[in-house]
Structures are given as structure tokens and as C-alpha cells.
Amino acid sequence: MDTYSFAKSQELFARATKVIPCGIPGHFSPALLVPPTAYPFFAASGKGAHFTDVDGNDFIDYMCAYGPMVLGYDNKVVHDAAAKQRKLGDTLAAPAPVMVELAEKLTSMIAAADWAFFAKNGGDMTNYATMIARTATGRPLIVAIEGGYHGVAPWMQGAGHHGVIAGDVAGFVRIPWNDVEAFERVLAEHPGQVAGFIATPYHHPTFADSELPAEGYWQRIRELCDREGVVLIIDDVRCGFRLSLRGSADYFGFTPDLACYCKAIANGYPIAAIVGSEALKGAAAKVFYAGSYWYQAVPMAAGLACLAELERLDAPQRMQDYGRALTDGMKRLADKHGYELKVSGVTSMPYLRLTDDPSLMLHQRFCSECARRGAYFTSHHNWFMSCAHTQKDLDRTLAIVEDAFTALEKSPKGQGGN
């Protein structure tokens, strides 16, 4: 099987480093792609479940822009709805009616959502959620999970990271995932001080296996929040609409007070949302929270169309089925070649790891061999399935995986000695 080269990506990156810190900053940084020489840095176009890089290489995309691409790139239904709204107006002097329509749509879809509020990024919403919780309770502390990702604001990054001062994290307590007793201890140590508990529906850290909630975990957390008057916040930014269209909390059988969404709302159009219970609507109204482009109508129209398509396609089931077929096939191939491939998380957004090497170096080599053959796998982050992935994509991906395992066997040891 031929492998790709990335001369134009590398040339463009060299230009980028002169005018942009890191060249490509944040979660798109190629520094996270190990080794970067096996990956494209810049995408030229996308269609369906594929994107083409600036060197003309075609990839079956399993990162889906780190989540937003849920229906496939260049989706006509979403684009048409966006184009229709664009003709009417986008950023205007007042919100467009579509804002109300989208709020009505979300509150009708998501279990226990009585109201909705819109912004641009998931971090806008998780931050707002903590402010609502503090307003509603009059308490200072927010309990979060160690290693839980909620965005890039200082409190979300945590103490010790650049630009974060002690005061930024003073109102937050981090506890281990799946540890109800730790939450009970925090409640006991800070009586009447805990405003909110924030977590993702299940734990999906980077560089580590995803962990589903232990049986009864969420129900027990819900009970404790009710008993202590703590606002239960779900960060459904990454999982949202890939587990259930009624919200990931519903998938795991509990009801949050606030739930934050972003990635899969509008298939790449920039919009985020928080939904909440009637009891918190007043507190949400009291917190002043706004942004220059938060009333942009085009993404709202795109969101309405995207959500309707997700419903029509029974999207979560479809993505989970595809992910299951993919990961089952990959595990079979790994076994055939003498490796053990561990799959964790829900199959619509699985995290995979070759357990034969705990340092991840072997897994990094495997993913990079797949990437340079056209299956865009990263080794540090959970992958994302979309409704646009087809049987043909699956067959092609498994052929790439087979070839990548063969290449691992043939190639000399990697830098890590694996």
C-alpha cells in the first residue's frame, strides 16, 4: 500500500511558525501527532467522512474536526439551511427568530431541558454553568474531576499551567472520577460551600483509557447533589448527540440541572448551548454573559437543520454501530498480528490503545502508519464517528489497518525501542 508524503503541509507550517505562536496552536497542534512527520498539518477540503490535505492526500477522518463534524463535511442539508439564513442576515442588530426556534428545538429534544442559551464554544458554556451554580446557591465551590477537560479558561486548565494564578483555581476542588466517597468527603469538609458538581458523562481523558460511570455512580451523585443543594452540571460538549439525542445524562439514566453542548450541534458551524432546569432559569438570567458573535443567526439555522438530520438518521445509534464494526474489526486484525487492542468508551467516540506497550510508543507508531495510508487516527485522544462514514470507508479502513500492522512487523524498532 502506498504511503503519503506531506511536503506542502510542512512548507506551510514553516510559514505559519513565523507568524503564529506554535505554528498551529491548541488541540490542532501537530506536536500532539506522534510522529508529526506521518500526519498532514493543513486540510484543503472536506466531503462526507473524508478530508483532503494540502498535498492532495485523501483521508478517512476519524477525528471529525475533534467532534463538530457529525453529519459529514459539506453536508447539503445543513449548508442549505445556513445559506437561506445568510440571505436574510447573520450578525444583525438584534437576534433573529431562529434563536427562539433553536431553543425550542433543544428543549423539546433534551430530557429535562426547560430553557437554552447560546454562545460559541464549549468552554463558554461550562464557565457560564459554574456562574449559574454559584448564583443559584450563593456558594463558592465547584467540584470537578481530576483530568476532566472543560475548556481553556484558567480554572479549567488548572494550577501550574502557564497564565494561571492560584486565585483562578481557588474555588475549585478536583476529585477522582467514579469516586462517590471523594465527593462525600468534599461535601463534609466544606459544609454549605459547594455550589456545583461538573463532569463529563463519562471520563474521556487524553493519553489514557476512557472510563464509563460505575454502576449507580450518577444516581448516587444525583442523590448527594439533591441532599446538599448542589447544582449538577454535565459537560456534554464532546459526547453530546453521539450517545443519545435526549442528552448523554439520559443515556446513563439520570437528570442534570445544567447541560452544556457544542461540538455536534451544527456540523461545524460555530455555536454552543447550555440547557437547564426551570429552577435555574432565574439564576441564569441574573448572570450577565455575552459575546460579539453569540447571536449569529447562520449557525443557529445550521443547528436546527443538523439536529433535525440527527433525528432523521437516528444518529447516535448509527455512529455507535459504525464504531462497533470498526473497533471489532480492528481488534480482530490486531489479534491476528499478535497485538492486543483495547477499546474503551462508547463506540461512537472510542479511545483505542495497543496494550502491548504501556508507554504508547507502539500505539503511536501504529496510528501513524495508518495515517500515512489514509486513515486519520490520532494516538492521544478519543476518535469520533460520524453519520457520513460508509461501509466502503469501513472496508478501506480495515485494509489500511491490516497493512499498518504488517508495516509494524516489518519496520525496524522505533525511536522508543518498541
Binding site: 507550517f13 506554535c22 505554528g23 483530568g147 501550574g160 504508547l360 522508543g416 525501542g417
Partner: protein, 296 residues
């Protein structure tokens, strides 16, 4: 902990171990101390202490192995790789405290800033024991420490010489590695990083043939080891000496370098990220431009 306290620890526990490398790799310095057989113990009142031992032309820098100092109120707990000397402990240990490493010269500093001023060349310690070895201190040891300072204070002109480049890179690499546990233990910005540190060893290696350092990260902290340990959890491979030197002296955009291949990273990248956050704090204490206000 104050800026001076952290800096004193870094001077003792991260900078001073470079004497080992200077004696080993600089023939002139090796010859200079070849006949020496003694231990110099550096102690900061109420702070860290460390011993520098000379025997057989080899210099070894490490924690004290003599009897623990006793404060007026009772034993003083040891902490970290070097002991912590209680406020009343100065002078409690006597000759021969370092056991079989020959006689001991004991240098006491009244405070962290006193020690830091000595490292800046602006003050002298108070010798409590080993007066008959003051000649070594005044002559050979001063020459040796001046040479170490020379290697650790680069200029663009000096770095053009391959031998100097190699020594500066080696000493800077080791100093950075030995600074990691100090900063994780005492720097207010780094202390919170301890909790989230993934367990495993990070190897930082200059290609093609070294030098290398390893940082063993575990539940009890980080242990720096000169050289390359097998089976690391994470690898940072630096393309060559000039790249390594630029990296260690903060002249390289780490993210961009990781993409261009100047710096290759493998394995548990989150572990590298945590260590990098700590390494980024080293210049705050160990560059001439460092300002105490930076930690206020």
C-alpha cells in the same frame, strides 16, 4: 516558600551537582582535584544541605550520610534528596560526619540569600569545621567552581566552540533535570503539578550519542538520574547539540520544534507536558535577569 529559599535549593541541589561533570569531563579540573580527599558540606540554616565529596579524582555531590543534625528541640526531619537543617543546628555536626569520605569542611550559610549571594560571587560562607582545609577551598575549589560558572554562563561567541557547546549543554541539561524535583517540591506554581504527574520515566536525550538525563516520576516525587534509563514512558529526543542547547536555553519554540523534528517526542506526551511546565520555571530562578518579584 520565598524566592530566595527556592533559589538556594536550586543552587545546592541542581547547580552544584554539575561539579561532578566538570571534574569528570574537564581534564584540567580533574588534575586539579586529583589529590583531594575531603568532603565539603554546604548547609543553609533552617534550609537544605548537601555534601560535595572529592576522592580519587572523582567528585560526588549528594545528600549527607553523616548523623542527622540535632536542633535544640530535638531531631530535625530530613526532606528530599538533601537534609533540612534546623535553625539551631549550625555547628552541631563535627569532623568526620561524612564517614569514610575523609575530613569534612563545613560551610554554613546564615540564610538562603546568604548562599545565593555566594553563588553570585558576592559573599563568603562561614566555615565551622575543617579550618585546615581552607586552602583547598580558597584555591582548588574556587578554581573549580569558577570553571563550572564559566561553563554555565554561555555567550554566543563561546557557544561557537564545540567543546564549550558540549559542556554547556551537558551542564544545563543536568541542572534542568535536577531542578525538577526542587521546583515540584517548593515552587508555588509547580507544587500543584505534582498531583497530576503521570508515573513513569522521561528520558531527555541529545542525538546521536547523548548526553541524556532521566526523570523518574513516581508517587513520591521525581528522581533525576544522569544518563539514559531503559524502557522510558516518554522520550524527548533532541536533534543535535546546537538544537539541545537552544532548547535548554529557551531559544526554541518547543511546539514548532516538535513538528519540524528538531525535537522528537514519543510516549506519554502528557508526562512530557508536565515536566515541560516545570522546566519552564527554571529560568525564573537561574538566569541573571531573574527577579524576585516574579514569585511574589
Amino acid at each position: 516558600m520565598s524566592y530566595d529559599d527556592v533559589r538556594a535549593r536550586l543552587n545546592l541541589l541542581a547547580v552544584l551537582p554539575s561539579l561532578e561533570d566538570v571534574v569528570r569531563d574537564d581534564p584540567e579540573m580533574r588534575a586539579l582535584v586529583s589529590a583531594a580527599r575531603l568532603t565539603i558540606r554546604f548547609s543553609v540554616a533552617g534550609g537544605p544541605s548537601i555534601s560535595v565529596r572529592f576522592a580519587g579524582g572523582v567528585c560526588t555531590v549528594g545528600p549527607d550520610h553523616g548523623p542527622p543534625p540535632v536542633a535544640a528541640g530535638g531531631p530535625v526531619a530530613a526532606g528530599g534528596p538533601a537534609g533540612e537543617t534546623g535553625p539551631a543546628a549550625a555547628g552541631a555536626a563535627g569532623p568526620g560526619a561524612a564517614g569514610g569520605h575523609g575530613p569534612t569542611v563545613r560551610l554554613v550559610f546564615t540564610s538562603a540569600s546568604h548562599l545565593n549571594r555566594m553563588f553570585d560571587g558576592a559573599s563568603q560562607p562561614i566555615p565551622l569545621w575543617g579550618f585546615n582545609h581552607l586552602g583547598f577551598l580558597k584555591n582548588e575549589f574556587t578554581e573549580l567552581s569558577d570553571r563550572m560558572a564559566y561553563y554555565l554562563t554561555p555567550s554566543e561567541e563561546l557557544l561557537e566552540h564545540p567543546g564549550y557547546l558540549a559542556m554547556n549543554t551537558l551542564l544545563t541539561l543536568n541542572t534542568a533535570a535536577f531542578a525538577v524535583p526542587v521546583l515540584l517540591g517548593h515552587d508555588p506554581d509547580c507544587i500543584p503539578l505534582r498531583h497530576g504527574l503521570t508515573q513513569g520515566a522521561v528520558v531527555i536525550k541529545v542525538l546521536p550519542d547523548g548526553p541524556a538525563v532521566s526523570l523518574v516520576c513516581g508517587a513520591s516525587g521525581v528522581i533525576p538520574v544522569k544518563g539514559e534509563l531503559p524502557h522510558p514512558s516518554a522520550l524527548v529526543l533532541l536533534r543535535d547539540l546546537p538544537t539541545a542547547n537552544a532548547f535548554l536555553n529557551g531559544k526554541l519554540d518547543m511546539f514548532a520544534a516538535a513538528v519540524t523534528g528538531d525535537v522528537q517526542i514519543w510516549g506519554q506526551v502528557n508526562l512530557i507536558d508536565s515536566v515541560a511546565l516545570v522546566l519552564d520555571r527554571v529560568p525564573k530562578y537561574l538566569t541573571p535577569a531573574a527577579e524576585p518579584a516574579a514569585t511574589a
